[in-house]
Symmetry: C2
Subunit: 120 residues, 2 copies
Amino acid sequence: MVRESSKISTEFIQTAARILKTLGHPDRIKIVEFLEDGEKTVGQIQRELNLLQPVTSQHLKVMYDRNIVTFRQKGTRYFYSLANNFIIKILDCMSEVQEKLDSGEWDFDFSKIENQKEAV
Amino acid sequence: MVRESSKISTEFIQTAARILKTLGHPDRIKIVEFLEDGEKTVGQIQRELNLLQPVTSQHLKVMYDRNIVTFRQKGTRYFYSLANNFIIKILDCMSEVQEKLDSGEWDFDFSKIENQKEAV
DNA sequence: GTATTATATATGAAAAGTAATATATAATGC
DNA sequence: GCATTATATATTACTTTTCATATATAATAC
């Protein structure tokens, strides 16, 4: 459970950075969390998150291009699902952190980073 | 170890997105990984990653603003260190995934997402 | 006090990401 | 075939990020 300081490979760092960056959007986190429940159509996702259809498709396309989600097509429906275990790991990680925060075991100064104007 | 599907709160999603996005840069992942070893000065980080000094400071400033790193000043030296446990969790997560990939237990199509031109 | 070292800040250009509007495509129901 | 439904793609304006160059600041060594 505790990290052994085995260096992360350069190759994996590239990939990980790409994935973390892509998941660094609230709606995309919500989408993958929703998909953890099982495959969903674009319409289901759109309604669940209250997004515009093209925006939903755009997020899914970006995530498909980066190997975060995959899909199967059935008629006019596209059923999207999570493409790999890394994503599930990240979701697990977020859940664990949320629990620690909820239980008060960890503290986190949300105010410090939210709704903050970008720098550099 | 297996995720209980307790919804992640909207508030935390905002924060998590911010953090994931910020860590979504190869050099920044390398920096936090280096910091896991203990606090480091800007110069140490710069030399370790072979970056320009202002670029190093810029990365550190962005991460400071988003509560990923913190620092103490001693003379002209700034000693940076990790600011919270969430970051360590993410590093753990990446290590675990790397191990699974190395061991062949998991497979991941790196080619699919690397050096790829952006889409929308 | 002058030079040097360590680091921060300012600025600007180029690249990437975001979100909206409009349009295309393709399957389905009638 | 025609309308409808589900989704993708194109385009564009806007915002943010990234990286480099230049400069400022402040402590230290001499």
